[in-house]
């Protein structure tokens, strides 16, 4: 092993980044070394993508410094970052079908010849060089649309490398690849290491983290937890660091009396999103749904309320087969859904708070179809004040509120319909700590009053702290159903990532 011990090429020192109401990064450190792969590990929401955006000049840090070769630099724009030699291979790079491979690689910074016109010959030559460098046998002259998926991926990588890169960021590069392509990517990573590039690798898959990294850095809730050499830590220790605070974080979960079956889903299948999903939900229960992004959880929940229709499967509410064709049917059946995408699906942000709250309950606040404002304000007030909403008045637009308060409006809106089952999809994603606590507190209050709650979440502490039972989904299927002592961060992560379930990995 040729482990260098010299100074880092690029380092983040005490970086702070705040968004309205949320501290996304709180004095984090990160060092990247030439010829080494550093894996950045953390749950969803730990601050990984914020770091990537700061490194590539998309976000500006509110505090701390970026050090390039030990000297402080400012990446005011993505061009600055590229000039500093930092480049990122994104999960989905935008490519242009009708342009040639060379044009795709050099779009925006093509070599210029006479009169400032693009020097096509030079561009093609350079493109061939870069493609050769990553071992890709692709003719730079062919149009992108004539290439397969795997080759397109290589073009995207070549594009990232077309700037004089010293630091390469790979943000979940294997998420959409087949096993063979993943192997090719590993080979590419090895080539880049040999060329002396510093690599920042972001992945949720523990097997590949251990396979290709030299170093690790762990973030949790926007804070730096630890860093070190990968061969000095075990998988279990890394998971522990990643989810660590789960044990000491206080969740207001109350012991609820779990009653009779309220919802039973049997054999739900969808052509592309999920398959053979069966589960039950009882009165007073909080059922957690854990999984990686893209495991099909939101799609499943949306099919339960009639947004997408499952191809197969039956749902029974209190024993009766219930067909739900639209959200309106779902509301009638007492199932409501608080979506993850607040701005687009959850709220109508240009409309006032009170109108948002009463929208699904208009039949109750009106008489013979005519609006009664006093009743609307009363209903809106009742539920928003219960959730401790902070707003200047009930007629201000929802869009003027902070993320956490917008979420409270959306939850208030659904509780006002007096549902039997409430589905919360990432209910505390991107909201401040105070609102988070209010949402958790209220969730457990509701369950203790006999409401059944389904909570989709990618945050392990939240899942473990709030759920009576957890279903783990992976690639559209139920990977595990965990209860009691089986509900540990390790089992969740293993089932969700599909590794070491049999105890083989370590």
């Amino acid at each position: 092993m040729n482990i260098q011990t010299d100074a880092p090429v690029l380092a983040l020192d005490g970086i702070i980044k705040t968004f309205p109401g949320v501290r996304a990064l709180d004095q984090v450190n990160l060092s990247l070394y030439a010829g080494e792969v550093t894996s950045l590990v953390g749950e969803n929401g730990a601050g990984k993508s914020t770091v990537v955006k700061i490194l590539t000049g998309i976000y500006q840090p509110d505090g701390g410094s970026i050090l390039l070769d030990g000297k402080p630099v400012v990446f005011a724009t993505s061009q600055d970052a590229a000039r500093g030699g930092v480049t990122a291979i994104h999960q989905e790079t935008v490519l242009f079908d009708e342009l040639s491979v060379a044009e795709n690689i050099f779009i925006g910074h093509a070599p210029r010849g006479m009169f400032g016109l693009i020097d096509h010959a030079e561009m093609r030559r350079k493109a061939g060089e870069i493609l050769g460098g990553i071992g890709a046998a692709i003719d730079p002259g062919v149009k992108l649309k004539d290439l397969g998926i795997a080759s397109r991926h290589l073009v995207a990588i070549a594009r990232a490398l077309s700037v004089e890169a010293r630091v390469v960021i790979m943000d979940e590069p294997t998420a959409a690849l087949s096993q063979k392509e993943i192997e090719e990517l590993y080979a590419l990573v090895a080539t880049l290491k040999e060329q002396g590039k510093a690599i920042l690798f972001i992945s949720h898959k523990f097997d590949e983290i251990f396979r290709i990294s030299d170093r690790y850095t762990v973030f949790r809730d926007g804070q730096f937890v630890g860093a070190g050499r990968i061969d000095e830590i075990s998988e279990g220790e890394l998971v522990q660091m990643m989810v660590g605070r789960a044990v000491d974080q206080i969740f207001p979960k109350r012991a609820a009396v779990i009653g009779e079956e309220v919802l039973k889903v049997v054999g739900y299948s969808h052509p592309t999103e999920f398959e053979d999903i069966s589960f039950t939900l009882r009165r007073g229960e909080i059922l957690g749904f854990y999984g990686l992004v893209g495991a099909g959880r939101s799609e499943l929940m949306q099919s339960l309320i009639g947004i997408t229709r499952p191809a197969k499967g039956v749902s029974r509410i209190e024993g009766k087969i219930t067909v739900i064709r639209s959200p309106a049917d779902a509301i009638d059946a007492g199932i409501v859904y608080v979506p993850e995408d607040r701005g687009r699906q959850g709220a109508i942000i240009d409309m006032p708070i009170f109108q948002n709250v009463t929208l699904p309950s208009l039949s109750r606040t009106s008489r013979r179809g005519f609006i009664r404002l006093a009743e609307e304000f009363a209903l809106a007030r009742e539920y928003t004040e219960r959730l401790d909403l902070r707003a200047a008045s009930l007629d201000t637009p929802v869009g003027s509120l902070s993320g956490g308060n917008q979420q409270k409006v959306v939850i208030a809106k659904w509780l006002a319909t007096k549902p039997r089952v409430i589905i919360l999809d990432e209910p505390t994603k991107g909201i401040d700590i105070g609102s988070k606590a209010a949402v958790h507190d209220f969730m457990s209050e509701l369950a203790s009053q006999g409401l059944s709650v389904i909570m989709v979440s990618s945050e392990i502490p939240e899942i473990l702290g709030m759920s009576d039972r957890v279903i783990v989904m992976r690639e559209g299927r139920i990977a595990a159903e965990l209860e009691g002592a089986d509900m540990t961060p390790e089992t969740l992560v293993r089932h969700a990532a599909g590794i070491g379930v049999s105890g083989a990995a370590a």
Partner: protein, 333 residues
């Protein structure tokens, strides 16, 4: 239940600004000032302007368009548009002509007109809601289709000889100078104002126009709301066709050519956001008067029609640009 005791949030007031304050600073108030301004200018510019009968005649400049504009306002607020309304008038008028030729009386003629309008609206609405096609494309298509059918039936000809009692709709007066059309306009203004501003349906129209996905997730049957609005627009076009045919006393396939743009202009001038989501019926009512007064005033001054349309266009751009220029100049300081 104990919930309100255990988790008691702080009190949130219903409203901060008073309703009066809000009304004074609204688009409608600005538009009303424009209307009064035009009225004053007109009365100085022409000695014939301040005459009850002349003013009554002037209302015909906008009553038929406004009937459609009310339904169109709701449709545009919901995020859709219907550009085929003038062609619906042509088809409706032709259908009524056929019924009249067959020797049937006024009630059947009117009923045929309204029904034909409704069918045209249903055709547009079903294409948009069932097939998910963009309404602007669908109704540009039906704009040619509906008028085309009327041209096939009539060619160069015309239907004349409507029964005498049919003339009541477009030429009758209810009381002194108050025409039947003006009364229909006033009744519809109230009905649409109530629908949009005082009913659950109106609230749903705003929700759908602001965020169709959010509205769907909130349990609103978005497609049903949109289909209803297309039906209403078709029905109103049918009614406008009854009035216009009655006023002209004949049907030609070129009837009401270009009226769709005047209707849309009226709606947008009335403060309805062309992208959907906001607008009001009082705004459209005032806009109808503004357009009527401008056309009439210029007519009295013998300004040719083409200049009039230039003036209406400038008025539309001016009234929409003014608040924005105002805001920009304040920000610039």
């Amino acid at each position: 239940m104990s919930l309100t005791d255990t988790v008691q949030g702080r009190h949130i007031p219903d409203q901060l600004r008073s309703t009066l304050d809000r009304r004074l600073k609204s688009w409608e108030s600005l538009l009303l000032l424009v209307a009064i301004g035009i009225f004053v200018v007109n009365s100085f510019a022409s000695p014939y302007f301040l005459n009850a009968w002349n003013l009554s005649d002037a209302t015909f400049n906008f009553t038929e368009k406004a009937m459609i504009a009310f339904a169109m306002a709701l449709l545009i607020i919901s995020g859709e548009i219907d550009l085929s309304v003038a062609s619906i008038i042509a088809l409706v008028s032709t259908a009524m002509g056929l019924v009249m030729e067959a020797g049937l009386g006024t009630p059947v003629i009117v009923l045929t007109g309204l029904l034909t309008g409704l069918v045209c609206g249903a055709f547009n609405g079903l294409l948009v809601t069932r097939l998910g096609l963009p309404s602007i494309v669908v109704t540009i298509g039906t704009m040619s289709l509906f008028r085309g059918i009327s041209y096939i039936i009539l060619g160069d000809g015309a239907f004349r000889g409507y029964p005498a009692d049919f003339a009541w709709f477009g030429q009758g007066y209810v009381f002194w100078v108050i025409s039947v059309e003006l009364v229909i306009f006033a009744i519809l203004a109230v009905i649409y104002g109530v629908i949009l501003h005082k009913t659950n349906f109106g609230r749903m129209v705003y929700a759908v126009g602001n965020n169709p996905t959010g509205a769907l997730f909130s349990g609103i049957r978005v497609e049903r709301v949109k289909l209803t609005l297309f039906l209403l627009t078709g029905l109103m076009s049918g009614l406008a066709a009854v009035c216009l045919t009655s006023r002209l006393g004949s049907t030609r396939p070129s009837i009401a050519t270009g009226m769709e743009l005047e209707v849309v202009t009226m709606v947008v001038l009335g403060g309805v956001n062309i992208l959907g989501g906001s607008g009001s019926i009082p705004g459209v009512v005032i806009a109808a008067f503004v357009m009527g007064l401008v056309t009439f005033g210029l007519g009295l001054l013998n300004v040719p029609g083409i200049v009039m349309s230039i003036f209406i266009g400038l008025l539309l751009i001016g009234v929409i640009a003014l608040p924005r220029l105002w805001a920009m100049s304040r920000k610039g300081r």
